[in-house]
């Protein structure tokens, strides 16, 4: 009897003894938690209450309800609507099968919007990953008055998109600041059509997105840079590494996780861009609607209260979701590969 007791594993008070069952490995987390966390013995002083299977569910219930109401339900509703001919103002909707998706494949306006969205992400994401990092390195040092520059670079983040859009309109107009300067410097004879050429509108909107986002992501990088050991830079300097080598071999690896996060967030944000193009390209999304992105197109085809088709708009929304999901998974895969 005594020998049997001494053979039992030592554990914290209240912990269950693990039992080896072939084919069923005991939960490591469970064992660890019971080994570390103090608690009453099973069945003692009502402690069994804390072992109810539903208790964790109860604690997480508010979060689950919120996730279902504001996340899962709208998503599933959108998915279901994409197989119907629903109207924005409700009423009876009929299932139309894959009609909305087949229509999408033949819709040149959809493909134009998709091209614009992808192009937006492809150009904005790399720049948004790199430029705020360079900016953060510039303002990282504790020099007198550096706080002013940090605040100045952050200011565009605080401005409303509409106000920023109006400012950029004035900047990019045919008689705006940029064209006037270029003309006075005799660099151009005719104004550059920033606001009437469909390509230039798209690129101008990208510039606006970058300008408005730089300060925000600069803050991300400032936090990340604080975690890069200064000793590594000092050691590398002593070994004769220049600024560029130290940037690539010490700074970049040190902030890699932040870069991945910025890349993912910017990618999602780029695919959702609307205001910039509305402000610079007008209600039609540029001349001939050539600068519409997928959110712009969803608004036009799905949300118009009179002629909108919520079913088709939902199908385009699903396409946008898949595009976003694809980009996010790609970013995660890159992160994993990087870590390995």
């Amino acid at each position: 009897m005594v020998a049997t007791q001494t053979a039992k594993p030592v554990s914290a008070p209240g912990a269950e003894h693990t039992v080896s069952v072939p084919g069923a490995a005991p939960s490591r987390i469970r064992r660890l938690s019971r080994a570390v966390l103090p608690g009453p013995a099973p069945g003692a002083n009502g402690a069994a209450l804390y072992r109810r299977w539903w208790l964790p569910w109860l604690w997480t219930a508010p979060a689950i309800v919120c996730a279902v109401v504001f996340g899962v339900f709208p998503f599933l509703n959108t998915l279901l609507l994409s197989f119907t001919d629903a109207k924005p103002l409700g009423g009876a909707a009929s299932f139309v099968g894959l009609d909305n998706y087949t229509r999408m494949l033949d819709d040149s306006d959809f493909w134009l919007a998709t091209r614009n969205s992808i192009l937006y992400a492809l150009i904005v994401v790399p720049l948004m990953v790199l430029l705020p990092l360079l900016l953060a390195i510039l303002v990282e040092k504790n020099l007198p008055g550096i706080g002013f520059f940090r605040s100045a670079f952050y200011t565009p983040v605080l401005a409303s998109s509409v106000v920023v859009g109006l400012s950029w309109q004035w900047l990019l107009a045919d008689d705006g600041l940029i064209n006037t300067w270029l003309e006075k410097a005799h660099l151009i004879r005719d104004a550059i059509p920033f606001l009437s050429d469909s390509w230039l509108i798209l690129f101008s909107a990208m510039g606006l997105t970058l300008w408005k986002g730089l300060g925000w992501y600069m803050i991300f990088y400032l936090a990340a840079l604080g975690n890069v050991p200064k000793e590594l830079h000092e050691a590398a300097s002593m070994d004769g590494a220049g600024a560029a080598r130290r940037f690539w071999h010490i700074t970049v690896p040190g902030v890699r996780q932040a870069m991945m996060l910025v890349g993912t967030l910017t990618g999602i944000g780029s695919l959702r861009v609307f205001t910039e193009l509305y402000m610079l390209g007008g209600p039609t999304g540029g001349p001939g609607g050539a600068d519409r992105t997928l959110p712009f197109y969803i608004k036009d085809v799905g949300l118009d209260p009179i002629t909108g088709n919520a079913g088709y708009g939902s199908a385009v929304s699903v396409a946008l979701f898949l595009l976003t999901l694809g980009l996010t998974l790609l970013a995660q895969r890159l992160t994993r590969e990087d870590e390995s």
């Binding site: 409700g90 009423g91 007008g282 118009d304």
Partner: protein
């Protein structure tokens, strides 16, 4: 065991969500009670028969961007109504009235939370009437038409879900249309400001003259055709839509392609700022800054110039908008409607009628801060409108529009924002020289018809 519970919980979650999603999809009540749109309502609010019930209870009243300038007036109207109807209370909400107004109002309607009395425009009225969210005032109050100018009342109708015309709105006030122009710029172009053009193409010819004389220093007008379609076509009596409103008809009229060709020519010749082709900006601001010769066609614009740019106001002239082939002007009144979902519909209807009655319309239209015109017969006959004097542009604008309103119709072609944008986009391409006018008109018709077809 736990895995089974977890699976069960997830299955339950999915079933509940899908059921909820299914409910959201149908958007209606299946219990046989009275509904308006997807909302349960009092039986008296829908169907045939006069609306009866006590005028009492709390209602909400929503205007669009009026509180800043007219807070005193509307608070007075509300106070008078509450005094005349003890037991009533009116809560006033003022919406900013931006580009998302229609979408937000539609969302409110779907959520069964639309204000009881609401100021809406034609596109919103079209959508809400079709979906059944507005009280049919023509049916619910057979006397509702009496105060209004017959032409206004007759043309203020929208089609319900069955395609039948319904009076779901009360015409409130109207702005009218006229030409506003910088007389100096017209004179420099050799145009007599006292003799404004009588036709749309005559106006375009003047734009061309201005472009030649301005030599890029200023412009005739703004380029985005979104400000002109379909108003210009209305004045030219080009039918934008077919009689049943289910398809477009403008491509059948050769004058449409001519109109597009003119716009393309004017754009190319520099009569309009190139960067305004797709801009949201109307001519108000550039006119006040002396950058364009022709301003907005809204009479209230004259007040805007007077307040914001006295030097340009001193040079401003007003003239009659070309009636062209139509022979008379059209007006687009603002509307007051009552939500069919109102819990106190008799009170809401009573307030809507009180707000739009001759006395209140006349009082507001006489406000020196505004240039608007009433829609009731009694108020239009008021000497203030019929005997307007004064030679300043402000007084001239009042006089001119009041004169026009005697022969106006309230009807203006009412296309959805999406249809308008589909047409405008093609015209923009033609103006940039990327399509011929004929091809642009053909493509515009095709795209607009596609949208109208999906609307059913």
């Amino acid at each position: 065991m736990r895995a089974r519970r977890l699976t069960g919980s997830l299955a339950w979650l999915v079933v509940v969500t899908l059921t909820a999603a299914g409910c959201g999809l149908s958007g209606g009540s299946d219990d046989g009670g009275a509904t308006a749109g997807g909302c349960k309502v009092n039986e008296g609010n829908v169907g045939s028969g006069k609306l009866t019930g006590d005028v009492k209870g709390k209602i909400t009243f929503q205007t669009t961007n009026l509180k800043k300038d007219f807070g005193g007036f509307f608070n007075g109207v509300i106070k008078d109504f509450e005094k005349a109807n003890p037991g009533t209370s009116v809560k006033w909400i003022d919406d900013p009235g931006d580009n998302t107004f229609t979408q937000r109002t539609v969302a409110d309607a779907q959520g069964c939370t639309m204000p009881d009395v609401i100021n809406i425009d034609a596109p919103t009225a079209t959508a809400l009437t079709k979906a059944g969210y507005l009280l049919n005032v023509g049916v619910k109050d057979p006397d509702a038409a009496k105060p209004f100018v017959p032409a206004f009342w007759k043309s203020s109708t929208y089609k319900d879900a069955s395609g039948k015309a319904a009076h779901t709105v009360l015409p409130w006030y109207t702005g009218g249309v006229l030409l506003t122009y910088n007389t100096d710029m017209l004179k420099k172009a050799g145009i007599d400001p006292a003799k404004p053009p009588k036709t749309m193409f005559g106006l375009f010819a003047d734009y061309e003259k201005i472009a030649k004389s301005a030599k890029g220093k200023y412009f005739a007008t703004m380029a985005n055709p979104i400000w002109r379609i379909p108003a210009d076509w209305d004045q030219m009596n080009i039918k934008t839509l077919s009689a049943d409103g289910k398809s477009t008809a403008f491509a059948d009229d050769p004058r449409t392609a001519q109109w597009v060709a003119w716009m393309a020519k004017l754009y190319k010749e520099g009569a309009m700022p190139k960067d305004s082709l797709s801009s949201s900006n109307d001519p108000s601001t550039p006119y006040s800054q002396g950058q364009v010769a022709y301003g907005s066609t809204n009479p209230s614009f004259v007040r805007f110039v007077k307040q914001n740019s006295p030097s340009v106001y001193a040079k401003t002239g007003v003239g009659q908008q070309p009636f062209d082939a139509l022979g008379h002007t059209t007006a687009a009144p603002q509307y007051i409607s009552v939500a069919a979902t109102s819990k106190h519909a008799p009170t809401a209807l009573a307030f809507a009628k009180f707000l739009t009655n001759a006395e209140n319309q006349t009082a507001w239209c006489k406000d020196p801060k505004v240039v608007i015109f009433p829609t009731t017969t009694t108020s239009l006959d008021d000497p203030f409108f019929q005997n307007a004097t004064g030679s300043d542009p402000f007084s001239q604008a009042r006089k001119l529009v009041a004169e026009q309103l005697k022969t106006t119709t309230a009807y203006q072609t009412n296309v959805s924002p999406a249809v308008q944008k589909a047409i405008v986009s093609q015209v923009q391409l033609a103006m940039q020289g990327k399509k011929s006018p004929e091809q642009a008109v053909k493509d515009a018709q095709e795209k607009a018809d596609e949208l109208l077809k999906q609307a059913g």
